[in-house]
Structures are given as C-alpha cells and as structure tokens.
C-alpha cells in the first residue's frame, strides 16, 4: 500500500512540475511587449497553493523552493525574495491541510486569500525597506485580487481534469502533516 502511494506521489509531482513549466513557458512567450494596464492572476502561485492545500504530498518543499527561485531568476524579480515568501505560505497552508478537509470550502478559500494578501504585502514591504524600485501599487493589488479570484477556478479545473481533490481522511501521507 505504501509503495502504491509513493508511486502515486511521484506521478503527481511530475504532473505538477509539467504544469508549472507550461505556465512559465506561456508567460515567457514574446507576446506582451507593451506595458500592461492590468495584470492577470499569478497562475503559478495559484496552482501551487491549490496543490498544497489539496495534495500537499505532490508539492514537496524542495520543489517549491527550487521552482520559485528559478522563476525569480527567469522573470527578473529580486532573486530569492518571492521564493522565500511562497515557501513560508506553503508551509503555513500545509499545516492546515487537515482543517481544510473537514471544513467548508469558504474557509479554505479565506485562508488562502489571507495568505496571498500577506505575501503580496510582505513583498512590497521588504522591497520598500531595501529601497528597490516598486511596481505600481494598482497593478500589484489588481494581480493579488485576480489571483485570489482564480483560486476556486483553478481548484475546480484541477479537480475536473486531474482529479486533484482534498485528501480524504484514510489517505497515507508520507511527508505532509498528520493524516
């Protein structure tokens, strides 16, 4: 039983990684060379929080750290800052996966939304402290709201297409919290 679970985890990890790379690839396509007046949701962050709150075993911590550090490098962000914040956010959510299972979806969404708001504000705060140029506030807040709005959509899409649902009580977790 444990072997089957482990194997399923590896497949899940591969799927998550492939999805993440597809999102990065689409973002890098040279289609948007005009400055945007509004920013779409940060899809990579959305799928990461969906996966962490639903199938934490498929998103091991090293994967999150490596992936977001790479994205920091690729997308010209301050390297390491966003990766750290997302890492802390995923740890925060990972510890609450059990709670999500027994409570309504609204609770899960609210927790994730607060996490995303905290990450956005912390990012701006750190950039302010170290006196780095900031993106326009409206753009950042717009992206934050859209990312939060995208959470149920991505969660539903992941459930319908990939069967990513909240882990049930009997499931064996290798590296997550208590089952």
């Amino acid at each position: 039983m444990a072997e089957i679970a482990t194997q399923r985890n590896w497949v899940g990890r591969a799927i998550f990684l492939a999805l993440a790379f597809a999102v990065i690839f689409l973002q890098l396509l040279p289609l948007q060379t005009m400055p945007a007046t509004w920013a779409g949701p940060d899809l990579l962050l959305t799928i990461t929080v969906v996966w962490v709150s639903r199938q934490p075993d498929h998103v091991p911590i090293v994967l999150v750290a490596g992936l977001f550090f790479l994205v920091d490098l690729l997308l010209q962000r301050p390297p390491g800052l966003m990766a750290t914040l997302v890492l802390i956010l995923t740890e925060f959510l990972r510890a609450r996966t059990d709670g999500f299972r027994s409570l309504a979806f609204g609770f899960e969404w609210g927790t994730v939304a607060m996490g995303i708001i905290a990450v956005t504000l912390a990012n701006r705060f750190v950039l302010m402290i170290v006196m780095l140029p900031q993106a326009p506030l409206g753009l950042t807040l717009g992206q934050m709201v859209l990312t939060i709005m995208a959470y149920p959509v991505v969660a539903a899409a992941a459930f319908v297409t990939l069967g990513i649902r909240r882990a049930t009580a009997g499931e064996f977790t290798t590296f997550g919290g208590r089952a």
Binding site: L29, I61, A65, L73, Q76, G80
Partner: protein
C-alpha cells in the same frame, strides 16, 4: 503500522523543520547577496537564462506565430475601417514625403559643404526577440545575440526608427534589453528646439514621463526628444520620440519605436567615451611666452645701454 507512522513522524518532523529553516535562510541569503553585490548575482541570472531559454526556442516560435496569426485574424474584422484611415494617412504622407525629399537634398548639400564624417564605428548587430519579461511588472525582452557576438552591457538598442532600450545583462548566447518603459530605466535626453536636458524615467506605462526638467515652460507637446549622450555611456542624437502631455498634466514622451511588435532589434555598437585621466595637461596650456621675443642683442648684453 500506526506505531510505525508515529515513530516516523517523531524523527521526520525536526528534520523537516530544519530543512524549511535552511531553505528560507539560503533564499534570503541570495536575496541579501543580490542587494549588496548585484552584478555578481545578475551574471548568474544571465547564465541561467542563457542555459534555459535558447532550448525553448523550437517550441516558442510556432506558438508565438500561431498567437500572432490569431491576433492578425481578429484585426481583419477592422480591415475596412483601417483601410479608410490608411488612405487618409497616405494623403498626408504624400505631402510629408515631398517635404522630406526637399529636406534630404538640402541636408545632403549642407553635409557636403561641412565635409561631415559620420562616426565610422557606428555599426549595429541585429537580434531577434526570444522572450519578453514574462511579468507585467518588468519591461524587458531577451535577444538571441550575446557575448559571443560581442555585445556589451549598456549598448543602446533600436528598432528601425527609435530607441527601444539598453542592453542590461549579457549571457553567452542571449542578452537582455531593458526597455525605456521599465521602472528602472533612466536615459539622459535633450528636447530638441529648446535644447533642454532632462531624464526619461520609465514608469511601466507606454508614455514614460520626463524628469528633472529645468524649465517646463519652454517645452510644448510635439517637440522632438533625442538622447543627449550625457554621462558618456550612451551615444547622443538617437531619436526617442515626441513630447506629449499626459492625462495627469505631466510631460511624457510618445516613443517613436513601435513597442507593439518587437521582433528584430538593432544593437548599436557604441564606443566608450574617452576618459580623461590627466586633467592638468588638458586644461593648462603648454608653458609659452606671450608677446614678441626679446631681441638677440638684448639677451647677449643685458646690462648694455641702447645706442
């Protein structure tokens, strides 16, 4: 089995906590290092991008052209409207062409009269845009030319008409162009009829504002903006755009380059400005005597009396 799990968690949990702590420390360490010693980390970043992005080109090219095809198809709907506008524009352009031809002749004549030598070092390398910045908060593109082609940091980049940005970050096969619209882009410019110097400061909009302007009253919308070459790291007289008055009553620049479709960009080889290392020899003229020289007789017999 339950006891197994219990045991497992007992030793997994502290290790896990340690792992989280180490990862956070490492990532914040990189961030702090980047803030302190940016060029070193930026070189690493350029090397990483250099290693990854060129491998994706085979997949990116078809997807990009497909997306552009769809965009083109959508624009067919507005075709007749566009056609009418173009006709009207063509009418105006004919008049301008006439004026341009006359000016060209005049210009050639004047250049001939002055015997002007344009800078022979002013050649360019053309690169293809590989990717954009991938984020709405950063305005930059990646070109497929790099250190291999002799690209250096700070070189200006243009499309056919106007300035696009400057090279910022060079990998072996790729280089990044920081567009004029990025929030960290600052370019010294001069505004043409009045000759006022200012800084073009990108702010993530398509119309970057003009900063540090001495006397805004001398500027009016429509004035030409060109690079000034101040600071010595950027050549002068590259066309940037025209002054426009923004909705917020700030003076902004309507860029001459077409930011809508950046595909082929020219990187100008700009020669480094001459550095002055020895101010003394430059400013003070060589010691020499002014006025007529003393007659030889007076030198031979300084105490003698005139006849």
């Amino acid at each position: 089995m339950a006891r197994d799990r219990q045991n497992r968690e007992d030793y997994v949990r502290p290790i896990r906590r340690l792992l989280v702590g180490l990862l956070v420390l490492a990532l914040m360490g990189v961030f702090v290092l980047w803030r302190i010693d940016s060029p070193r980390v930026e070189r690493v970043r350029a090397a990483v991008i250099d290693g990854i992005v060129p491998n994706l080109t085979w997949a990116m090219a078809p997807v990009t052209s497909m997306a552009n095809l769809i965009a083109d198809f959508q624009s067919y709907q507005a075709l007749s409207e566009q056609n009418r506008d173009l006709r009207r524009e063509l009418q105006q352009m004919r008049a301008w062409r006439e004026a341009a031809l006359q000016l060209e002749q005049e210009n050639a004549k004047l250049l001939d009269l002055n015997n002007v030598q344009l800078d022979p070092n002013f050649t360019f390398i053309t690169g293809v845009v590989l990717t954009d910045s991938g984020s709405p908060f950063r305005q930059s593109v990646l070109l497929n030319v790099g250190a291999r082609d002799g690209i250096l940091d700070g070189w200006p980049t243009m499309d056919g008409i106007g300035l696009i940005g400057r090279i910022s970050g060079v990998g072996q096969n790729t280089s990044r162009v920081l567009l004029l619209t990025d929030t960290s882009s600052r370019i010294p410019v001069v505004i043409q009829p009045s000759g006022q110097r200012a800084i073009l400061a990108g702010d993530n909009t398509i119309y970057p504002p003009i900063d540090f302007l001495d006397n805004p009253d001398l500027i009016r919308p429509g004035d030409r903006v060109v690079t000034s070459g101040d600071g010595g790291m950027f050549p002068g007289d590259l066309l940037v755009g025209q002054v426009a008055l923004g909705n917020d009553r700030r003076l902004r620049v309507r860029l001459a380059a077409d930011y809508e479709r950046l595909e082929f960009l020219r990187v100008l080889r700009s020669t480094p400005a001459e550095t002055i290392t020895d101010p003394g020899t430059l400013i003070i003229p060589p010691q020499q005597m002014f006025g007529p020289a003393l007659p030889a007789a007076a030198l031979a017999n300084p105490a003698g009396t005139d006849g």
